[in-house]
């Protein structure tokens, strides 16, 4: 049942800019470094003995912001697909459980963001090769820097998806989305428990890997809470 719904949902998001956004996000993150290194490559290479690590940390400066921005835009796009002609009443009257409907929406977005993370990895490696940062390529770190923020951002995805899907007034997800992006932008100065800080993986109290586990744990919790609330609501 979930497979059929997923195929149906992937068909619905055609021509809506979902895939474009999935490519533009990671492209933008690496593009920031093409500007950075394009302008002052010699200076940047002098900053550290380990050029690859330094490059990765530079790339990672923009990853959380792009990720949260992407989540905010994708979740409200997702809601708009069904809200536009109130297709919810047709969708919920299908012989599928409401839980599956919610799971399908979440899975589609999680999959798109996973693709974006994969692209980020490829673009990062690609530009890294081009910059000729040395033969000692830290593949493990490249993978970590590409996928850890994604997993750490799952709670953010869960909460923004819930807000977007249950809000009657689209002003609500827009407002919370802007707040979420601002929180991510200034995450350095924020308390560690705020989930919008997690994709940055900088944290006074735990290792990045622990944030990843926290991301999965709270992601599941917030997902379940959102789904149960969605199921409970009447479709009007």
């Amino acid at each position: 049942m979930i497979g059929q719904l997923l195929r149906s949902d992937f068909l619905k998001i055609r021509r809506k800019g979902f895939w474009l956004l999935t490519v533009i996000g990671p492209l933008g993150v690496v593009f920031m470094q093409t500007v950075n290194y394009g302008v002052r490559k010699d200076y940047l290479l002098k900053q550290s003995d380990d050029n690859w690590s330094y490059y990765l940390s530079n790339v990672n400066m923009f990853t959380p912001l792009a990720l949260v921005l992407g989540i905010v835009i994708l979740t409200s796009l997702m809601a708009s697909v069904e809200n536009e002609t109130n297709a919810w009443k047709q969708l919920i009257a299908l012989p599928v459980s409401k839980m599956t409907v919610y799971l399908s929406k979440f899975t589609v977005l999680a999959a798109l963001l996973l693709v974006a993370s994969l692209l980020l990895m490829l673009f990062t490696l690609g530009y890294g090769y081009y910059l000729d940062l040395g033969t000692d390529i830290p593949y493990i770190d490249v993978v970590k820097f590409s996928f850890y923020p994604y997993i750490a951002a799952l709670p953010v995805l869960a909460i923004h998806l819930w807000i977007a899907l249950v809000s009657k007034n689209q002003g609500v997800p827009v407002t919370t989305g802007v707040i979420g992006v601002i929180l991510t932008y200034m995450s350095y100065n924020l308390p560690d428990w705020l989930i919008w800080k997690w994709p940055a993986l900088m944290n006074g109290w735990v290792e990045p890997l622990t944030i990843v586990w926290l991301g999965i744990g709270f992601g599941v919790l917030l997902y379940l809470a959102g789904m149960l609330d969605f199921v409970r609501r009447d479709v009007t």
């Binding site: 195929r7 809506k16 536009e84 599928v96 009447d234 009007t236």
Partner: protein, 302 residues
């Protein structure tokens, strides 16, 4: 013959207000059931509960003799619906819109061509729906509802906002369904004339309460008919008729005959002519269904 839909003392409460109050629907198999009521009477709320879009505050719903609360998914496999404005994905083509739903129902791809043919949209199958007229969108909505060959079709105000030719077209389509596809149809409307032309049984709802539920013939019987005569002197004429034992009444300068069989009317006219009254007009005054409907809903409101 069994009942396809049966609701038992169905109630839906929003805060203090009961939008649906104690509704017991009984819709027999193979009927086109007209669900009538003024705007805001609770038709759409009832229909949303029938589709499991809303939960009822109390009461039960049985569709195909299965409890909707327990076997919602099983029931919905055999129910097609079009609730209020059609739902569609404007950025997709008609064919893709149907494909979105076909994937979930798991019916063969050939059904898409078939239903597009039924609603006569085959020529525009590859066009984006946002370019469609309202009538075409409505027909697409019906195509979506028919896609999985449902046993029960629920249509909420399917002719809303359509032009007369669109209304006629939809009406013809709905009329065909029970015979050609063995479907039971529930169709709601606030227009009695609309229901009068397609329904075989009728339920009338007002302010959340059911005020009438029976066959359309029985509703028509409520339409008591008078024969009205316009004569030269209505007061004297009606008295002359009364004297001879004809149930006549003078009103607004006309003579009303309650007995309206051919024999009675011709007899009354003969009497008047013999008595020297001039008879200008003899016509049937049909109390329209609208009148009955208004009388029923008003009577309920007071």
């Amino acid at each position: 013959m069994g009942y396809v839909i049966q609701t038992n003392h169905l109630v839906k409460q929003f805060g203090q207000e009961k939008a649906v109050d104690n509704i017991s629907l009984a819709i027999p198999e193979g009927e086109v059931y007209g669900f009538l009521g003024p705007n805001g009477a609770g038709k759409t709320t009832t229909i949303r509960m029938l589709l499991g879009l809303m939960t009822s505050t109390s009461g039960s719903i049985h569709i195909f003799n299965q409890d909707l609360n327990k076997e919602r998914i099983d029931i919905l496999k055999h129910v097609g619906s079009l609730v209020e404005n059609p739902s569609y994905y404007p950025h997709l083509t008609a064919e893709e819109n149907l494909e979105v739903f076909r994937k979930v129902y798991g019916v063969p791809k050939s059904r898409i061509r078939e239903v597009l043919g039924v609603v006569r949209l085959s020529d525009v199958a590859g066009k984006k729906v946002k370019a469609f007229s309202l009538g075409m969108k409505q027909r697409l909505g019906i195509a979506i509802a028919l896609l999985h060959q449902p046993k029960l079709l629920i249509l909420d105000e399917p002719t809303n906002g359509l032009d007369p030719s669109g209304i006629i077209e939809i009406r013809h389509l709905i009329k065909r369904l029970p015979d050609e596809f063995g479907m039971t149809v529930l169709i709601s409307s606030h227009l009695l004339s609309e229901i009068d032309q397609i329904a075989t049984s009728v339920g009338i709802i007002s302010e959340g309460k059911m005020i009438f539920q029976d066959s359309i013939e029985n509703l028509r019987e409520h339409a008591q008919q008078n024969v009205v005569l316009r004569v030269s002197d209505s007061i004297a004429a009606s008295q002359a008729l009364l004297v001879r034992g004809v149930d006549a009444k003078n009103q607004d300068g006309r003579v009303y005959l309650h007995e309206n069989s051919d024999d009675h009317v011709s007899q009354a006219i003969r009497m008047l002519v013999q008595d020297g009254y001039a008879v200008y007009r003899a016509e049937e005054e049909k109390r329209s269904l609208e009148d009955i409907f208004l009388a029923m809903t008003k009577g309920h409101a007071s």
